[in-house]
């Protein structure tokens, strides 16, 4: 089937299988930063933003999100908080293998857009669905806190 997708600010018409999930469609069209760690909505490595809200792309049929605003990892720079989060993640050493990172960035940016000054507890809650096996989450949470504090200034 055919549909119009709004991905990272670009409108593109795509032919896709009727049973394609959004992660399959995105990856097939070059958005390989959207990862597949489990295909069951249980790891968060496929988290992207749908109208600014984090969703698991592997748990969405592509057919149901035509015409809706999709932001992947490579498109998050449109959000004001992205730059601060990115810099903080780099400074803290919060990126190890990086496989969870695009999903973490999406969750983090969405959080800061909605809650500019989150507590550590709120940050952790926002990351509930982002599995990371490398970092123990410690530096990720610290980085997002840094980014939020930076935003306050």
């Amino acid at each position: 089937m055919n549909g119009l997708f709004l991905i990272n600010g670009t409108e593109v018409e795509i032919d896709f299988p009727s049973d394609a999930t959004l992660v399959q469609l995105l990856r097939a069209h070059g958005y390989t930063e959207v990862k597949q760690g489990c295909s069951h909505g249980e790891c968060g490595s496929c988290i992207i933003l749908l109208e600014g809200n984090p969703v698991n792309a592997c748990q969405i049929y592509a057919a149901t999100v035509t015409g809706r605003k999709i932001t992947t990892g490579t498109g998050l720079s449109e959000f004001a908080s992205w730059s601060a989060v990115k810099n903080a993640m780099i400074r803290r050493g919060a990126v190890q293998c990086g496989f969870c990172t695009p999903g973490v960035m999406a969750s983090a940016v969405a959080l800061l857009e909605h809650t500019p000054e989150p507590t550590v507890s709120e940050i952790a809650a926002a990351l509930t669905g982002n599995l990371c096996r490398c970092t123990g989450y410690v530096k990720i949470v610290q980085a997002i806190k840094d980014a939020a504090s930076e935003g306050e200034q």
Binding site: V95, C97, G136, V138
Partner: protein
């Protein structure tokens, strides 16, 4: 030891930015032209003989092009273990077999035009399997009546104990002193049995591989692997292709932790590529990773210790039974390490025996997993020390400080226990474990909390527990790493290393080491790693070898570059190289203004006179494997009414020598520590009566996310290892070893019960407190 020019600083990880922006490429992101997709079909039965395979339905799936099975593949034995050659693991694995040995064992492989079609076809492969008796209990593996798993010509390639006729995949026995006498003379003996279970690495990126045919007939394997050079050799030998026809590239990997220290997919993918002439893509689903890839070897450790009238631990007997599952990859070496990495820690023990057996069972395959036997051994040893201290009325922190191995000391265990051969004796040159103990104890509030059983308003009880560990830095006299470098005329450099960055940041710290040696900015050094065509050899990312061994090679290589730069500089300044003062990116003649920059040297060398490319290569091995040390502390809160245990705080105090990059070193410890905590409390393989894993998903396995993380503190104590590059030791594994025993000890501190089996689920804790039959 303070920070150098760049070493000892938390400089930014080189690949952070592309990983954050999503442009960095993992195996699945790299385009492969018109691949054939492969998918396995598996046995549901735990044990049996394939009588017939019906492929008719599979072959009818549109897009299915080929099916491989035991009938149309060579029956050549090999090991998938990524280890040096000849491997200490037995050759007990073939591509396919008529004998299936666990529920989840491969029976066939379907190749199709899409992944969906391949999986569809695989699901339609029908195998008629005549059942054989299963074997689930490792304690029964060697019993005369138990079924044997490997009786067909499997063999070891090193002279190590391998007795498949008894289901014994490996056996290790060492002893010294007088065990019997030691126990006789002991003031008291403690004897306990500990069990550690199966665990999955849960690297978020599943196992994945791609194979591309080159126009010149060579084969390129792109793989999420920790061991590209071993993969190249394994594929070459198995498929009888000259090694130089194969190129293995490791792009970015989404975690390894030991899961990818085996050639899990590459032999299959390479074989199919050869047979079909097609490019190949293959990726495991998460379920397949849990069930059919590799796991942590479960272990039963019986530990008997004798303490003399002065409270000294004099006699230790560790008896380990390791369940290696259906195939013996890493069996000997993990088993050996349960003793080799653990027993030297208390090196004043006069009488010591370690005997271990690794046995086959019809269960998932145990392989390499962070900690590699030491994790299992420390679970036992640290609880035993706590038991001994409680009996003696001593503080375990002080006890460990008094008795642990110290700088200048050795242990007879180093020499006695190698990995399938004699070990290598070594003298500890750096050990700040006492500082780790003191710092960690202060950080957790040890004195304030230990034994106090502080109770909250709603009846929860708190306690603190501690564990110590040492690991290694590479396998002495076996692990080798190499590096080569070339300088560009603008003063920048290309650094080529075989070393495998699996997310650990080795690319970054190796650049730091080179930059420090040359006194040049790390931003001017471009590193290319883990490409068997372009980078020199490295054993790969395991045994905590990268910082120490690969780093040593980089340091040597950079030093050679420096020497060559100095020689050209000397010609330019008309002096002797020894006269020159090395300064950032330059050399200066002391006592004057005459100096020459790297850029000037390199333009001169490249274009002006006696032209040459300034380049160098170096390799490094080591006679020693200087252990990092750690003391880890847990504060827990136990709810006696439900058995729920929460870790409130966790402190890791680590001696990794001089941390090349403190932030990255901390990151290694933090990730490992959380893995250890969930290994202790929530991770679990659950099996049906017929031996099938019933919870092969992240959602049911028990993995923590951010809200579950306790307050974590990581302290890198000041240390310096003379034999390591700029004083460094490795740090990749050690952080995982202390959590389970520290938590067990903390639970005991809180509620007075001790749990000897992992995981400490709420129900297990409840029953330990109230009695096994209390519900």
């Amino acid at each position: 030891m303070g920070a150098g020019h760049v070493v000892g600083r938390s400089s930014f990880k080189i690949d952070s930015a592309p990983l954050i922006s999503g442009t960095a490429r993992f195996t699945g992101d790299i385009p492969v032209k018109e691949p054939l997709h492969l998918a396995f079909a598996y046995s549901q039965a735990a044990h049996g003989e394939i009588k017939d395979i019906d492929l008719s339905a599979a072959l009818q799936v549109p897009g299915v092009a080929a099916v491989f099975h035991h009938g149309n593949t060579p029956h050549t034995y090999f090991t998938t273990a990524g280890q040096g050659y000849p491997e200490p693991s037995p050759y007990d694995y073939t591509l396919f077999d008529h004998h299936v040995r666990f529920a989840g064992d491969r029976i066939a492989m379907v190749g199709a035009e899409t992944q969906a079609a391949a999986r569809r076809g695989a699901a339609l492969v029908i195998a008629e399997i005549a059942p054989l008796p299963p074997l689930f209990d490792p304690e029964l593996a060697t019993a005369p009546g138990s079924v044997r798993l490997h009786q067909d010509g499997e063999h070891a390639v090193i002279p190590a104990a391998y007795r498949p006729e008894e289901n014994v995949a490996a056996e290790v026995t060492i002893s010294f002193g007088d065990i019997e006498g030691g126990f006789e003379d002991a003031a008291f003996i403690e004897e306990h049995t500990y069990h550690t279970p199966y665990a999955s690495h849960c690297a978020i990126e599943p196992h994945i591989v791609a194979v591309e045919h080159q126009p010149d007939g060579r084969m390129v394997i792109i793989s999420s692997t920790q061991v590209p050079f071993h993969v190249r050799r394994i594929v070459s030998r198995l498929l009888d292709i000259p090694l130089h026809y194969i190129r293995v590239i490791k792009p970015r990997i989404g975690g390894g932790f030991g899961a990818k220290q085996d050639a899990v997919l590459e032999p299959f993918a390479a074989f199919a590529a050869l047979q079909t002439g097609r490019n190949i893509r293959m990726e495991l689903s998460r379920r397949e990773v849990f069930v059919s890839s590799r796991t942590r070897n479960p272990m039963r450790i019986a530990l008997k210790t004798g303490v003399d009238a002065n409270g000294k631990l004099t006699t230790v007997h560790m008896d380990a039974l390791m369940n290696t599952g259906a195939y013996a990859t890493h069996a000997l070496t993990v088993l050996s390490n349960a003793g080799a990495k653990v027993l030297p820690l208390f090196n004043k023990v006069e009488n010591l025996a370690f005997n271990g057996k690794a046995v086959y069972t019809t269960l998932p395959i145990g392989g390499a997993y962070r900690g590699y036997g030491a994790t299992q051994g420390y679970f036992a040893l640290n609880q035993q020390i706590d038991i001994i201290c409680r009996r003696l009325g001593l503080d375990p922190v002080e006890y460990c400080k008094a008795w642990h191995i110290k700088e200048g000391e050795s242990s007879a265990v180093f020499e006695a226990l190698g990995e399938g051969r004699d070990g290598v004796s070594q003298i500890i040159q750096s050990c700040k474990l006492s500082e780790c103990l003191d710092t960690g104890a202060r950080a957790i509030g040890w004195q304030e909390k230990r034994g106090k059983r502080m109770t909250t308003e709603d009846g929860r009880v708190r306690g603190v527990g501690m564990a110590i560990a040492m690991q290694g830095s590479g396998i002495p006299e076996i692990d080798m790493g190499s590096a080569s470098m070339k300088m560009n005329e603008d003063g920048s450099a290309q650094l080529f290393v075989g070393a495998t960055d699996i997310g650990t940041g080795s690319d970054t710290i190796l650049v730091q080491i080179a930059a420090e040696t040359l006194l040049m900015p790390p931003e001017k050094i471009y590193i290319l790693s883990s490409d068997t065509d372009l980078t020199p050899f490295d054993v790969g990312a395991y045994a905590s070898s990268t910082t120490y061994i690969s780093g040593g090679a980089v340091q040597k290589c950079a030093q050679k570059i420096l020497d060559r730069l100095a020689r050209v500089a000397a010609r330019m300044l008309d002096c002797s190289p020894e006269d020159l003062l090395h300064e950032p990116e330059s050399f200066r003649l002391p006592g004057g203004e005459r100096k020459v920059t790297f850029e000037e040297i390199l333009y001169h060398a490249t274009y002006t006179a006696e032209q040459c490319q300034i380049q160098a290569g170096a390799s490094h091995t080591s006679r020693e494997s200087p252990p990092p040390f750690a003391a880890q502390f847990a504060e827990v809160e136990v709810d006696p009414e439900t058995g729920v245990v929460r870790v409130l705080r966790f402190v890791s105090a680590v001696d990794c020598g001089r941390a090349i990059n403190p932030a990255l070193a901390e990151g290694q410890v933090e990730g490992a520590a959380l893995n250890g905590i969930s290994f202790a409390l929530t991770e679990q393989y659950r099996f049906s009566e017929s031996g099938r894993m019933v919870n092969p998903s992240f959602g049911r396995y028990g993995l923590p996310t951010a809200p579950d993380v306790p307050e974590m503190q990581t302290i890198l104590v000041d240390s310096y290892e003379p034999s390591g590059p700029f004083g460094a030791k490795s740090v990749g594994e050690i952080g995982i070893n202390g959590a389970a025993p520290a938590i067990a000890n903390a639970i005991c501190d809180a509620v007075g019960v001790r749990l000897f089996d992992l995981p400490f689920t709420p129900e297990a804790v409840y029953r330990a407190i109230h009695g096994a039959d209390s519900l």
